[in-house]
């Protein structure tokens, strides 16, 4: 009994089996993968059924063919939006998990990341190095720069604007975050307009390569081109790499366990010798860095930004965090993915099915958010609210 016991604690004490660690890292990613497939299949099926039902009502185009032809592009678009919201949502959910307030300045942390990419591109262009710069190195350096700047900024904001109010009512803190959000918008606006960046800043990049054709599926006299443009591909791949890193950090390392302990019970965590203030700063650093990295990737993809680009993605990512179950890390990623899919599908197909009567992003937002409200009516705790235990 004892000998066997020694063996158990011996192996527990030194290193956990590699499968456990892999499970802790990739388990949440697998869950995201299921939601990606699930969203794509369900939404794809819905639009195809709708196309079949509405087929007779239109004589100008073949609705089914039109639906199928744009489907791959819509899914790529869904993934980009989904990972964008997922990465920003993590910042909201981590801060909420630990401190139970919504950091409304987080959208601006993201925006600052986008400006870092514009600044980096500009500096390279001015020195004449941009054209010949290795595209891979460009993306990696820009992402790391954006993560460092936004992460530092988030930590500083917590230190000066949130920590002094930590024991005040949550409403006061909330107002402080909104104030910080406006302050950052204006600061960036002033800096941008005073420098060659300008209010509408261009994100210059080296040539990032052309679109990748994954498949060509014949459909009657036309073909479905499954194409992914390089900037979207970069966005998706970089996001996945960062999510793997985050899961490793939070689920496997001692620091990550300390973050979870602090989120669950702050005074008791301090009784374990955990410096709660440092851990809170760390969550702002991680959340801010992810937001900044997302900002850089966003900038590289859309190539034109302004100081207000953080607002809408910020609000939507916050929604995604609530949709996934606020405070839940896997939930934030899943919520982002689901929201991205809903939005992209509605934006593309609403216009197609209504013959352009309801075209445009505004209708897409109304429709996507109505669906969200319906989901939350039936599942107010969020998609992963209580079902999984991986809160922060």
């Amino acid at each position: 009994m004892t000998a066997q016991g020694e063996a158990v604690s011996g192996s527990l004490g030194t290193r956990r089996s590699i499968t456990t660690i892999l499970g802790q890292i990739f388990g949440p990613l697998l869950q995201i993968f299921y939601f990606v497939i699930g969203s794509a299949v369900i939404l794809g099926a819905i639009v195809i059924i709708l196309a079949l039902l509405l087929r007779g009502t239109r004589d100008d185009i073949d609705l089914l063919q039109g639906t199928l032809i744009i489907l791959p592009q819509v899914i790529v678009d869904s993934l980009v939006r989904g990972f964008l919201y997922a990465m920003i949502a993590l910042g909201y959910t981590m801060v909420y998990g630990v401190l139970e307030f919504i950091n409304f300045a987080h959208g601006e942390i993201f925006m600052v990341g986008a400006f870092v990419s514009a600044g980096f591109g500009l500096v390279l262009a001015n020195s004449g190095a941009l054209e010949t710069f290795n595209p891979f190195a460009f993306v990696v350096i820009a992402v790391l720069l954006g993560a460092a700047v936004s992460g530092t900024l988030a930590v500083s904001i917590e230190r000066v604007a949130y920590r002094p109010m930590r024991n005040s009512p949550r409403l006061v803190l909330l107002i402080s975050t909104i104030g910080m959000s406006l302050l950052l918008q204006d600061l960036v606006r002033i800096i941008a307009t005073m420098t060659p960046l300008g209010f509408n800043a261009r994100v210059q990049t080296p040539n990032l390569g052309s679109a990748l054709t994954l498949a060509q599926i014949p459909l009657g006299e036309r073909t479905i081109n499954v194409i992914i443009d390089s900037r979207s591909l970069i966005f998706i791949l970089a996001s996945i790499v960062m999510l793997i890193f985050l899961n490793y950090l939070v689920n496997v390392t001692r620091m990550g366990k300390a973050i979870r302990a602090v989120a669950q019970d702050m005074p008791t965590a301090s009784l374990m010798g955990i410096n709660v203030n440092n851990i809170i700063a760390l969550t702002f650093l991680i959340g801010g860095a992810l937001g900044g990295a997302a900002g850089v990737l966003f900038g590289i993809r859309v190539q034109a930004i302004n100081p207000y680009v953080g607002f809408l993605p910020g609000v939507k990512a916050f929604t995604a965090a609530v949709l996934g179950g606020i405070g839940n890390i896997t939930g934030a990623m899943v919520g982002g993915i689901v929201l991205g899919f809903l939005e992209a599908f509605v934006a593309s197909y609403l216009s197609l099915f209504t013959a352009g009567q309801f075209a445009g992003a505004n209708y897409a937002d109304i429709a996507a958010f109505s669906i969200l409200i319906i989901i939350l009516i039936f599942k107010p705790e969020g998609l992963l609210g209580e079902a999984t235990t991986q809160k922060v």
Binding site: G5, V8, G13, R254, G273, N275, T389
Partner: protein, 239 residues
């Protein structure tokens, strides 16, 4: 047997509420000292003050001769003061093993010492070994209590503060927990035990204090206390 931990006329407040009104206690190395008192007397407040979760407004706390009442809680643990808090306060969404790892947060993990600590806890509480993968929040009350004590032991303390380890446990389990406390003490850890179950507490303690509305009203060795008329009436239910 030197003085290990001492509170000297400590006053602690919760805002305007004056919870400790000049508390003075002494814990010597190697002892089991118990603090008994009715609800709201200030027992938990005393332990929170020692651990640094609350700052006394007056008076001082000394540990091994040095003042600790201005040191933050995460530094106090490192000096060798561990607490198993009231209500157990297990991290509900961490596993048993992860809870124990958090207890060992201040020590490098994976060392032989760490493995020894883990082995010691698992030997004291074989239940925890069986359930090391289970989430803390899904343990039974008794198991959570074991985990709370085990987690505190993982910090490698020289003094262990226990806040009502018998709360809500069946009599058999209470006895078992108290036996283990005795064993922990025999292995060399000093214990400051807060209890409502004065009978059991006085049975294993060397000395005891009676606290009323934030002040010590009685102090004696445990046997004498259990024979004291006032204690018998108020805390042992003997008329």
């Amino acid at each position: 047997m030197g003085v290990l931990l001492q509170l000297d006329t400590v006053h602690t407040y919760y805002g305007q509420i004056h919870a400790l009104k000049g508390m003075s206690i002494t814990v010597n190395e190697g002892e089991v000292v118990t603090l008994i008192g009715s609800n709201g007397a200030g027992k938990s407040t005393t332990l929170r003050t020692i651990s640094g979760l609350l700052r006394p407004r007056q008076g001082q706390v000394t540990f091994k001769g040095a003042r600790i009442d201005k040191i933050p809680p995460h530094e106090i643990v490192k000096l060798g003061i561990a607490q198993s808090p009231e209500g157990r306060r297990i991290f509900p969404r961490l596993t048993v093993l992860e809870n124990l790892e958090m207890g060992a947060y201040i020590h490098p993990s994976g060392t032989p010492e760490y493995r020894n600590d883990l082995e010691r806890v698992f030997n004291l509480f074989p239940r925890l070994r069986e359930r090391y993968k289970q989430k803390g929040g899904t343990l039974s009350g008794g198991e959570q209590q074991m985990l709370a004590i085990g987690r505190a032991l993982m910090t490698r303390p020289s003094v262990l503060l226990l806040d009502e380890p018998s709360m809500g446990l069946a009599p058999v389990l209470v006895e078992q927990i108290f036996d283990i406390v005795k064993e922990i003490n025999a292995q060399g850890t000093t214990v400051l035990l807060v209890e409502q179950n004065a009978h059991m507490a006085l049975a294993i303690a060397h000395r005891g204090y009676v606290i009323q509305t934030g002040q010590i009203v009685l102090e004696d060795d445990a046997r004498a206390l259990s024979k004291n008329e006032m204690v018998q009436k108020a805390y042992l239910g003997i008329e």
